[in-house]
């Protein structure tokens, strides 16, 4: 479904992409400078891989549903 040329899925992709970049960046920063009071299961670095997953999904959606591109 398009909003006058821009698909709702593009907006969703944009949201996932920006959130993914911020979360991934925060996760990497925590690896470089570990926090004084880490969360439970900090060793799994959930924000790194979850952020990366959102980033990749967001990128795919942004490209696939980019304004002007035929889907």
């Amino acid at each position: 479904m398009h909003a006058g040329g821009i698909s709702i899925w593009f907006f969703i992709g944009l949201s996932l992409l920006v959130n993914g970049i911020l979360i991934f960046g925060a996760g990497v920063w925590e690896i470089v400078r570990p926090p004084a009071n880490p969360v439970v299961l900090f060793n799994l670095h959930a924000n790194v891989w979850w952020g990366a997953l959102l980033l990749i999904l967001g990128l795919i959606y942004c490209v696939k549903f980019a304004p002007g591109r035929k889907t």
Binding site: A3, G4, F11, G27, P35, L41, N47, L54
Partner: protein, 567 residues
């Protein structure tokens, strides 16, 4: 805005970092951008109130579910899972799935073919103006009141969890919803609901995943819950043989007949808040598929709501209590289980996404209430009773102003509740009075052509009044619970189930009796409104994997299997 958001008070559950606040601010910016972008696409009444009736099954289906997936729903049922165990899942499975499938397969053709704008609009076509007026006025009033109560509750949650000022939370979130719904109408509400749905999953999904890792898998989780609480907390049906055998104090008849057959069918098939999303579908097949898609995801919601509550029982080092005990002891209440689990596993960034999920849930629920209120007010009250022959542009302008007005009334209700907390209980009870009888009226209207206009009106009125009477009876004399809920051991939830069941029966009996005493309408007049006299397009010409009945069967089989698995 960041500076204002960052002004938190000490003694909060979680503390946000700069990246968390950036994620929240980005979310607000994006929803406003969508609203402004869609303004030019909402010039006609059909655009503004019905989203142009051009939504795909996926968009309508996700929006249908998202309008119900408010943050209070998320936090409230996570708390219920901590308090009552896996029994809370009934509100997602038997309390939703059969009704959603029924809406898609049986009821949607009549809603869709009649081209109605709303559920009260259908009652007008089927039973006449008095039935529409009764349901429209009660729905409009209750919707904005409930919206205000949800707004206040969410602001309270943000104060407890983040230390945000209540007034700040109320005004920023409500102003945002008012702007994007007033600009883009239902289309904007739906687009944002789909975005919010994705964010809710992205923000909440990590908690059960990491929780299961920490607990050592489902089997170990059950053992830990049995040790910390009771083994009954992980059984869905086997403890429902007696009111005393389960923590919820409920019998299986209440779950099956009260919740599964009446309350859930009442809510999912006649509450215009959710039905409006499906009415925006682009064709009948999409309208039938939308509730089935919604049902599929609804079945998965316990993974991000109920499981965190159960995990809280196993892994949290503190014991959660009721609100009163928590206030007295300075401990944490059941309602804080989801934020506590969020703070347990989510570091910077993830925490911001989780909080955004909660805010998104609140805003999608509020936008749902406001857009449904706007449509019912404009089409079923203003146009029907006050100004009949104005231009389409006039009604669209009324819709935009009504959106702002609806939000302001909601804000007023929020402040009223802030001053008189007991009002919340009364308004929530009021809302429940209309759901079950309305289902009785609509289902008889759709499936029984002998039902007449006077029958529909008097049945709806009698069912509603009987529900109010039973509620008042138990309030005045608590011993009456043994009659209303069939047991003195029944708790609040059980009382609600049985009250819904009795009021539905009263509605149906009165509708049938009055209908037989009054003159029926001809078949020609009922064409497009009632089963048996309406030609419904067949599905035989499309491949099986395109047929709604096929997918409804698949979801039904999965629903039965899931119930057996967690028996």
């Amino acid at each position: 805005m960041i500076a204002a958001v960052a002004m938190t008070v000490p003694m909060t559950l979680v503390h946000l970092s700069t990246v968390d606040i950036a994620i929240i601010v980005f979310y607000f910016g994006l929803v406003l951008t969508i609203g402004m972008y869609l303004r030019g696409r909402s010039r006609t009444g059909e655009d503004f109130f019905m989203a142009g009736r051009e939504m795909t099954a996926w968009i309508a289906g996700l929006s249908f579910l998202s309008a119900n997936l408010g943050s209070l729903e998320l936090m409230g049922w996570a708390a219920a899972a901590y308090q009552y165990g896996i029994l809370a899942t009934h509100w997602y499975w038997i309390g939703a799935i059969p009704a959603m499938l029924f809406l898609g397969i049986v009821m949607m053709p009549f809603y869709y073919i009649s081209r109605t704008h709303s559920v009260p609009g259908y009652l007008k076509l089927r039973f006449g103006e008095p039935s529409r007026a009764l349901s429209a006025v009660s729905f409009a009033l209750m919707t904005v009141l409930m919206s205000g109560i949800n707004m206040y509750s969410m602001a309270l949650v943000l104060k407890v969890v983040l230390g945000w000022d209540i007034h700040f939370s109320i005004w920023v979130s409500s102003a945002t919803v008012a702007v994007y719904v007033a600009l883009g109408g239902l289309r904007s509400a739906i687009f944002n609901e789909v975005l919010q749905f994705i964010l809710i999953w992205a923000g909440a999904l990590l908690i059960p995943i990491l929780g299961l890792v920490e607990a050592g898998g489902w089997s170990n989780l059950r053992l830990q819950i049995a040790r910390n609480a009771s083994a009954e907390y992980t059984h869905l049906w086997s403890t429902l043989g007696n009111f005393k055998d389960n923590p919820m104090g409920i019998h299986w008849t209440g779950i099956v007949f009260g919740l599964g057959a009446i309350l859930s069918f009442g809510y999912w098939t006649t509450d215009f808040l959710v039905v409006q999303r499906v009415l925006s579908a682009k064709d009948l097949r999409a309208a039938k598929m939308a509730p089935i898609i919604g049902a599929t995801f609804k079945m998965l919601v316990p993974f991000i709501v109920i499981l965190p509550g159960l995990l809280g029982l196993a892994v949290l080092p503190v014991k959660l209590t009721g609100e009163t005990a928590a206030l007295a002891t300075g401990g944490h209440s059941y309602n804080e289980v989801l934020p506590l689990m969020l703070a347990r596993y989510c570091g910077p960034g993830l925490l911001g996404l989780g909080i955004t999920a909660l805010i998104a849930g609140f805003m999608s629920g509020m936008a749902g209430n406001v857009s449904a209120f706007t449509t019912v007010w404009t089409y079923d009250i203003y146009r029907a009773l006050l100004k009949k022959n104005e231009s389409d542009a006039h009604y669209v302008a009324m819709g935009r102003w009504c959106t702002v007005l609806g939000v302001l009334i909601s804000v007023g209700t929020a402040y009223l509740v802030m001053s008189f907390a007991s009002i919340m209980d009364y308004v929530q009870a009021l809302f429940s009075f209309f759901i079950a009888p309305l289902f009785g009226t609509v289902i008889l209207g759709m499936l029984w052509k002998r039902a007449t206009g006077p029958g529909g009106f008097w049945g709806l009125l009698a069912g509603t009044l009987s529900s109010i009477s039973m509620w008042a009876w138990v309030k005045v004399d608590p011993a009456a619970l043994r009659y209303v809920a069939l047991s003195a051991n029944a708790r609040d939830m059980a009382e609600n189930m049985y009250r819904a069941l009795w009021s539905w029966i009263v509605c149906v009996v009165v509708t049938i009796a009055v209908s037989y005493l009054t003159k029926p309408r001809s078949d020609a007049e009922l064409n497009g409104l009632v089963y048996g006299v309406t030609a419904i397009p067949r599905e035989a010409e499309v491949p099986i994997y395109h047929r709604p009945t096929f997918w409804a069967t698949v979801v039904a089989v999965l629903f039965v299997a899931a119930n057996i698995l967690f028996w």
